[in-house]
């Protein structure tokens, strides 16, 4: 097991190098730092001096890959590639373009993101499993048919409308919850209820439909038939046999997204003014802060790869038939 984990981790290294090179290409080679400076400083007739100063302040004044002026090892280390890209491997994100420490910001903003993402995931799982189990119980009836139609209809609504609709209906018209904002400590729950409800409702369509397919797949298998032949009631067959076996793909699907929960939800956080990583990313995009976007791209890739690794491991724990090669 240990050897497998080590090997999988080693596989991740070339991928991370690839991601790193990709971001470097995208951010520094497609457009030179001069272009970035000009974009930031706005006006077309900006002096060369101002551009130079902007670059020096942010450390973009060095050569890209090779520094011919430096000596010895400095030829490689005293460059943008080393400073801005390679340091990401050590999770040293450096400074944002507005001069704040990105690593520190990420560490602080991760918690509000988790405070929203974890309840959404848990409640969503519960709601989706219950709903899809009901559909599976009534399979082949009109209830099932219209349930699936409802799922497809809910899938066809843009996430934006769930948020806007929820804010207007529950926040503004019924005045049940504050429309946006965030608080730390005991009062935080008030601000969390609305985003969590909306997050869960918007996941019902695709989630329930997917789980229903998983259940129906299990229902046709031999062991379910033997369970029925034993004389078990339909409820017990569904919960004891079908649900238990369908949980394997469901839970592994959850494990994949576990690490990315840290990244937060872009839309929910920006609509509700939650100071998490999602709104951090959106703000960075709107302010065109390249350092933050670069850091988030890398962080996102790391977390995604971590998710894949966890999935593989959880498969072997949940399903003994899967053997590690």
């Amino acid at each position: 097991m240990m050897a497998y984990i080590v090997r999988r981790t080693l596989y991740a290294i070339p991928i991370l190098i690839g991601v790193n090179l990709l971001t470097f290409l995208l951010f520094f080679v497609v457009n030179s730092p001069d272009d970035m400076a000009r974009m930031h400083l706005g006006a077309k007739r900006v002096t060369d001096q101002a551009i130079e100063q902007w670059k020096v302040e942010r450390g973009y004044d060095k050569p890209l890959v090779f520094n011919l002026e430096a000596e010895g090892l400095g030829q490689v280390t005293d460059t943008i590639f080393f400073d801005k890209s390679l340091r990401l491997f050590a999770f040293d994100f450096g400074q944002s373009d507005s001069g704040r420490n990105i690593g520190h910001d990420i560490g602080q903003r991760m918690w509000p993101s988790l405070a929203i993402a974890i309840p959404i995931m848990l409640v969503g799982l519960l709601v989706n499993i219950t709903f899809s189990l009901l559909l599976a119980f009534f399979r082949g009836t009109y209830l099932d048919f219209w349930g699936v139609v409802l799922c497809v209809a809910m899938m066809s609504i843009s996430g934006l409308f769930y948020i806007i609709g929820g804010q207007v209906l529950l926040g503004k018209l019924l005045n049940l919850f504050p429309i946006s904002g965030y608080d730390i400590g005991a009062h935080a729950w008030k601000f969390l209820v609305l985003p969590v409800i909306i997050g869960v409702v918007s996941s019902i369509g695709s989630g329930s439909r997917w789980y229903r397919t998983l259940f129906l797949e299990e229902i046709n298998k031999d062991f379910v038939r033997s369970a029925r032949a034993k004389g078990l009631s339909e409820q017990r067959v569904l919960i004891g046999h079908v649900l238990r076996n369908a949980l394997i793909p469901i839970l592994t699907g959850v494990v994949v997204v576990l690490p990315t929960l840290f990244m937060g939800s872009l839309l929910l956080e920006s609509f509700f003014g939650v100071p998490g990583l999602g709104s951090y990313t959106i703000d960075a995009i709107n302010r065109q802060d390249f350092a933050i976007v670069r850091a988030m791209v890398f962080l996102g890739a790391v977390l995604y790869i971590l998710g894949l690794l966890l999935t593989d491991i959880s498969y072997t724990i949940a399903d003994p038939r899967v053997r590690l090669e």
Binding site: V152, S158, V297
Partner: protein
């Protein structure tokens, strides 16, 4: 002398290409019985036929909006025709009344008065604060309070009559030509799905009739902040949605197909390299990759402004670029599916036989592998469509989508969102974007499900 000069934008060219591909694909399918079989299954589904009619209406509007031209605008001294600098589409021309009837600012659907109070000068020199009359909406009414509802009712009846009349004429023509006797067609149990399509068609024609009679006299979906008709904006957004939904897959297809079947067929180091490529790309979160790429494009565009001839052209290139970027982030799943299917296919007897006969790799790929993975390509293209239409709205909302000057549902939502804080609520822009998007995406989802079940029920999409 031509009254107009055709203009071909970059996305127009690709849409025409897509059209040619679709028509030749349909023509090829018609002549091969084994290819027609799954489509017959699709045709037997009530939902698919109904959804197809709705998608068809959207496509027709989108195509009308694709034919761009410059209108002639007088002659110069030598007698040469001068053309206006503005680029219009056929849809613009048809909807001229909608486009040109601008109010001052917000007004509710079917309103005759502006949304906000203003100081109005009375003829006798006095001033009063009241809701001013709209310049166009309901301007033909003498006394809006008394006449409006009756006028709307009459116009609705006329619209329904026009729609139903056209439908009836079409149906009589169709059933008479096809079946000889109309009654037979209406009672034939095999024609059930076609009748569903006919009923949906009736609905669409009635809606068309209604918009003919109502949209000219009122702002049926209200007006936005600068007084532009929301109904017109929604119609214009259809093209953007369709372009994002279809061109993205068209752009990514060559790479995904080529790399996917190469990885599965050659295995070895080719497979390793291709797998590495798509694992790397798919491990970057899609939104962030799109954001990074769009930011870089914005820099390029702001530093090279003189390279673009007009705003329309610039917005169009940005739309195309967005398609390419979305394609780069979404080709990986198709590539993975194709690789798996090719791995399976290359073990089959007919591929082995081809290899034993000394058929070259290229010929084997084109003649034996490619035709047998095309159904997967088709399913993915159809399945991806609705997701991409939804993605456009989200991306435009975070300002990394289409150009702010392009009409799109995402931009409509984005600009309407700030109006939610207003009292009373300005809800019509959101409702319009919601309705137009929902109908299209729902129809596409329903259609995609049927297509997937008909072509390969085992291929499930993790949504």
């Amino acid at each position: 002398m031509m009254p107009f000069q055709p203009v071909m934008l970059a996305t127009d060219a690709l849409i025409y290409l897509l059209l040619v591909l679709a028509v030749s694909f349909a023509w090829y399918t018609r002549r091969h019985d084994h290819l027609r079989a799954p489509w017959r299954r699709v045709a037997r589904s009530h939902t698919a036929m109904g959804a197809l009619v709705i998608i068809g209406v959207y496509v027709v509007i989108g195509l009308l909006d694709t034919f761009h031209f410059r209108l002639a605008n007088g002659e110069d001294e030598q007698g040469n025709v001068r053309y206006a600098s503005e680029i219009h589409s056929a849809l613009d021309l048809l909807a001229t009344p909608l486009r040109e009837r601008r109010e001052k600012t917000y007004s509710a659907p079917f309103a005759t008065h502006l949304y906000a109070r203003e100081t109005i000068e009375l003829p006798d020199g006095g001033q009063v604060r009241d809701f001013p009359r709209l310049k166009w909406g309901g301007a033909h009414l003498e006394d809006p309070v008394r006449d409006r509802n009756a006028d709307i009712l009459w116009r609705m009846l006329a619209g329904i009559a026009i729609g139903a009349g056209v439908w009836l004429a079409l149906m009589v023509l169709y059933t008479w030509r096809k079946a000889g006797d109309g009654r037979q067609w209406w009672s034939d149990p095999d024609k059930g799905p076609q009748r569903t399509a006919a009923w949906i068609g009736l609905l669409m024609l009635v809606l068309l009739g209604l918009s003919l009679t109502l949209a000219g006299a009122y702002h049926v979906l209200g007006t936005d902040k600068v007084g532009e008709d929301v109904f017109y904006q929604s119609l214009k957004s259809i093209r953007t949605g369709l372009v994002i939904g279809t061109l993205t897959t068209l752009v990514m297809l060559p790479a995904a197909i080529l790399l996917g079947i190469m990885a599965g067929y050659f295995r070895g180091w080719v497979d390793d390299v291709i797998q590495y490529l798509y694992t790397t790309l798919s491990s970057v979160p899609g939104v962030l990759l799109i954001a990074a790429a769009v930011l870089m494009m914005q820099i390029y565009m702001s530093n090279h402004q003189d390279e673009f001839n007009s705003l329309t052209e610039r917005a169009d290139l940005r739309l195309l670029f967005l398609c390419v970027i979305l394609g780069v982030t979404s080709w990986t799943s198709l590539c993975r599916l194709l690789r798996g299917e090719t791995l399976k296919l290359r073990q089959l007897e007919y591929v082995q036989a081809a290899q034993a006969f000394g058929v070259g790799h290229f010929t084997t790929l084109v003649r034996h592998i490619l035709p047998n993975v095309m159904h997967i390509v088709l399913i993915v293209v159809v399945l991806d469509f609705s997701g991409l239409v939804l993605a456009e709205a989200v991306l435009s909302y975070i300002n990394i989508g289409v150009d702010p000057n392009t009409n799109s549902w995402g931009n409509m939502i984005n600009s309407a969102r700030l109006e939610l804080a207003r009292e009373p609520l300005v809800w019509w822009s959101l409702l319009a974007a919601f309705l137009f998007m929902f109908v299209l995406v729902l129809a596409a989802n329903l259609f995609a499900d049927v297509v997937r079940d008909a072509f390969d029920p085992r291929l499930r999409e993790r949504s």
